[in-house]
Structure formats: C-alpha cells, structure tokens
C-alpha cells in the first residue's frame, strides 16, 4: 500500500520536473549582466505583450554568468555587457545597445577634470590626497568594484592596470551601491555605467561625471563611439539562434525598442 503511494508520488514529481521541458517551446530563459538585465526585462515585457503565449524569464548574475549559462545551455540567451573575448568565439553576439563607463566624483568636489594618468595614479595609490590634483586637502576614498564585474574589467583594460595594483578604500557590488557610497562621501571617486550615473545625477543625487581625454561622458558621445570608455551590450547565444530566441533577438535590435533603450539611459545602435 505504502509502496504504491510512494511510487505515485515519485511519478507525480517526475511529471512536475519534466514539464518545463515540454513548455520550453514558448519559454525563453535569459541570464547575465546586471547592466543589461533591466533593459532586456523591459524589451521582454513589450515582446510578451505583442506575443501572448511567449514567456521570457530574465535573471541577473553578471556577464560571466551570461557566458557560462549560454555555453552550458542553462539559458537560451546570455546577457554580456562587453565585447566577446577571443576564447569566447564559440558564442554568437548581437549588440542591442551601447553603454559607457563614467568616472564620478561628489558634486561638492572642486576638482573638475582628471587626466587618465591621474586617475590611474589615484587607483594605484600613487596619489592619495585631493590637494595633489588641485582639490581640497582631504584623503581620497577610492571606490572600486568586486572581482568578476565587467565594469571592473573594462576599467582596468582602459587604464592598463592589473587588478593586483589597485589600492581601494571601499569595494562595492553594483552601480547603485557605488553611487550611494559616493553620495555619502564628498571625498570619494568611483566608476559606474554612464546610464546609471546620468539618471541619478538628473534625479538630484550629488554626483558629477568627469570627462575622459577631454570628451564629456554623455549618451551622444557614447553613441558615436567618441567616448573612449564605452562598451557594447550583447545578447549571446550558442550557435545561430532559432525560433523564439531568434525572434526575440531580432525584436531587441529593431527600431521598435529604441524608446526602451533610451529610457534605460543606454544608447541605441542602428
């Protein structure tokens, strides 16, 4: 008697666990970069509204997860906030927007510009006080990102720094934590995505975006590629996408979603 019930339970459980595979025709799993995820969530909502029956599940976890999940087949599409590396040539990337990384200071900091060399020296601890770059006499709080973040990789690559050489005062996780930490610290310096920084600055958060190599960090300078510290936001797939995956990527690259890209303070690609 008991055995029969147990068997039935086991069968039910098996059915329950295998049902996602049956539904997979209409369901798309997208995982990866926390920079790309808010945009893709919006695009997914628009897509679902146009195609009832399609379910698009968007999860964050960083570009590394996007790569790993797309490779392992855990996700149909990975979100990656950088260009693919040579050892990732097994994946296909479709750029849906561009983003730039801005170096930000507190709005009350009198320093108006920093050269690339100065920024590199601040992050490696060669310059430790704002008075050495024309500011107040106050120790610099160097706000840095945790290992593995794509913002960090892009920042290090641009300034040609090795991760080991950075001397941070504070290590943060995502863009928002960085902006909040800086807003509470007039002597801080941080780097975050231009999209997040512009939105926060307009909303009245006391931060300012520094020009790099004389070019202002604006969506316009990111769009035409003049701003040096910028990156593509990619959807990556293992092999050529088909079915719902292809339809969704085509939709995400179409003019129909440009307003969503702009709302997220990213820059549409044509």
């Amino acid at each position: 008697m008991k055995t029969v019930q147990l068997l039935m339970l086991a069968v039910c459980l098996l059915c329950a666990t295998s049902s996602p595979a049956v539904l997979a025709k209409e369901k798309l799993v997208v995982t990866g970069s926390s920079t790309v995820a808010p945009l893709v969530s919006e695009i997914a909502r628009a897509y679902e509204a146009r195609h009832p029956g399609a379910r698009i599940d968007v999860q964050t976890g960083g570009s590394s997860r996007g790569i790993a999940d797309a490779r392992a087949g855990l996700a149909d599409i990975g979100m990656v906030s950088r260009a693919l590396k040579p050892d990732e040539a097994d994946l296909l990337a479709a750029t849906i927007a561009r983003d730039g990384i801005a170096v930000i200071l507190h709005a009350n900091n009198p320093v108006q510009r920093l050269s690339d060399t100065q920024i590199a020296q601040i992050y490696t601890g060669a310059i430790r006080n704002w008075k050495d770059v024309g500011g107040r006499t106050a120790p610099i709080t160097v706000i840095h990102k945790a290992e593995g973040r794509s913002t960090l990789e892009l920042f290090l690559a641009y300034f040609k720094l090795a991760a080991e050489r950075i001397k941070p005062s504070v290590v943060i996780g995502d863009n928002q934590q960085g902006i909040k930490t800086l807003a509470g610290n007039p002597d801080g310096i941080a780097y975050v995505s231009i999209g997040s920084a512009e939105v926060e600055a307009e909303a009245g958060t006391p931060i300012k975006l520094l020009p790099l190599a004389g070019i202002a960090p604006t969506t316009a300078s990111v769009k035409d590629g003049r701003f040096p510290l910028s990156r593509p936001l990619n959807l990556v797939t293992r092999g050529t996408p088909t079915g719902l995956g292809k339809a969704f990527i085509d939709f995400a690259r179409s003019k129909a979603v440009h307003h969503l890209v702009l709302e997220q303070a990213f820059v549409p690609v044509d």
């Binding site: 976890g61 945790a146 504070v170 290590v171 930490t181 509470g184």
Partner: protein
C-alpha cells in the same frame, strides 16, 4: 487511539524528522565539499592560507587565493560585536529579570523580541546612510571594521538579552530567597548569586549570538568596505567570509567559484567550532 499506540506511532515519526534534519545538514556539507573540490585540488589547501593576496578571477595558476584576511575580518567583526553586545545584553537581562517592575519587564521583553525580528537589510541601510558618514567624519573612509561591529552588535543584542534573561529566570527561587534571608542587597544578590549561577546559559547565549554575527551577510556587506586586508585599526575596511561569497558568487566561474565554496567551508568550520564551544559551556555549567 490508546496512549501506547500513540507512543508507538510517535517514535518513528519523530525519528524521521530527526533523520531528515540531520540529512539536510550532511547534504549541505557534502555539497560544499563537492563544489570546492576543484579549487582544493587545483589550488591546494596551503595557498588559501599563504598566497600573497585574494585575486581569484584569473584561474588557479595565475590567481591568488589567500582567505586569511577574510577569516580575520569575520572573527574580528564578530568579536567586536560580542564585546559590545554581551555586557549590554546582560545588563538588559538583569534589568528585566531582577529590577524592572513586572509590566515594564514584559513590555521591554516584547521590544527585545521585536528588535530581533527587524530584517538585517534595514540595519544595513541605516548603517550605510547614518553610521558610516558619522565614522567617516572621525576617520575616513567610513566603511570599516568598527561600522561592521556596531551594526552586528545591534543585531545580536536582542539574542544575548533574551537568552540571558531566560538563563536568569531559570535560577531556582530558593537561591534568591536564601540571599534575601541573609540580608544581602539586591545588587549583591544579582551579581554574586544569580548571575554566577546562570553563567553557563549566559555564555552559551553569547556564543550563539557570536555565531549569528559571523554568519550575517547583507548588513555587513553594506558597511564593512569589503577591502581584502588584515586591518591595522578599527577604522580600516575589512571583508568578511560571508560578504566575500555574496559579492563575488554571482560573477564567479571555474576556480574562482570553487574558491568561494572554500570560503563557505571555512565559514561552516568556524561556526561549528563556536556551536560546539557553546554546548560545552552549557554542559559544564549544568554539572557545576
């Protein structure tokens, strides 16, 4: 159903519950071991203690995997929290058990239970926007070992107070009556008779609270600064084992990911030692 049948049914049911609970714990340890296996093999145990730094994003050969600054960070933050919360919690408990009039005592107990229920992210947010700027005014950068210890102290204070209160309440009435019969003052009774008698329960509570402080993640992550270093002063930022896992897990692959499971293993070991010590204390006090 007769009482004896009920007992016969109860034994296997209760035993199953116990087995399930134990099995879950064993499965978690087995899972941690399995997931950290690649790092333990490729990196080796020694390098987790002797590498020059923590830069695990490059694979096993090129990366650095020293976990010790984070073990130190976890222990120091929790130790600081216990040093602040233990005396305060004990004073709260003594107030509740022996000084406060009954209505005030029960209200105060309710407040303590309420405090214990505040989600850690709320403490963390308060720490980030209020406490950290205050510490920054004293000694920059602000996010620091001190901030982490203060936030943790606030979080474990109710645990210490509630458990110490229970331990004081368990002291036999006769002891208090005998002390009163000897003409001892209330203060003398509390500090020379009641608290020493309850010391096992109090110490056990403090150690359990310490375990909770070591395991806390989110609030600490928001205020400790997360720089991987052994701090020179309480104003230096530190990173705890828990914050390390939470900060990097979402972005980690390969050996980096496995190394984070080694952090988890280290954390489990530290907490187990604490729980074991807490049980030892309670047992020795029970025999005393």
């Amino acid at each position: 159903m007769s009482p004896s049948t009920r007992d016969r049914l109860a034994t296997p049911l209760l035993a199953t519950a116990a087995v399930v609970a134990t099995a879950v714990l064993l499965l978690i340890v087995a899972f941690l071991l399995r997931e950290s296996q690649p790092a333990l093999e490729a990196v080796g145990l020694a390098r987790f203690a002797f590498d020059p730094s923590w830069h695990p994003a490059a694979a096993a050969e090129a990366g650095h995997f020293n976990l010790m600054p984070m073990v130190a960070g976890s222990l120091l933050a929790a130790l600081g929290a216990v040093l602040i919360a233990a005396p305060l919690g004990l004073l709260c408990a003594v107030f509740c058990a022996d000084y406060a009039p009954r209505p005030l005592a029960s209200t105060f107990r309710a407040v303590l239970h309420l405090l214990a229920g505040v989600p850690s992210v709320v403490y963390g947010l308060w720490g980030l926007v209020v406490l950290v700027p205050m510490i920054r005014a004293l000694a920059p950068p602000g996010p620091s070992l001190l901030a982490a210890s203060l936030i943790l102290a606030l979080m474990i204070l109710p645990t210490v107070a509630v458990l110490a209160d229970a331990a004081l309440a368990a002291v036999p009435r006769e002891l208090r009556q005998a002390a009163a019969a000897l003409g001892l003052s209330r203060g003398r009774t509390v500090w020379s008779v009641v608290v020493p008698t309850a010391r096992g329960g109090i110490a056990g509570g403090v150690l359990l609270a310490g375990g909770r402080a070591i395991g806390e993640t989110l609030a600490v992550l928001m205020v400790c600064g997360n720089v991987v270093q052994v701090p020179d002063s309480v104003f230096d930022p530190v990173r705890t084992l828990t914050a390390n896992i939470a900060l990097e897990m979402a972005y980690a692959t390969g050996d980096h990911r496995a190394a984070l499971f080694v952090s988890g293993l280290a954390l489990a070991a530290v907490v187990s030692l604490l729980v074991w010590a807490a049980q030892g204390l309670e047992r020795s006090a029970a025999h005393a």
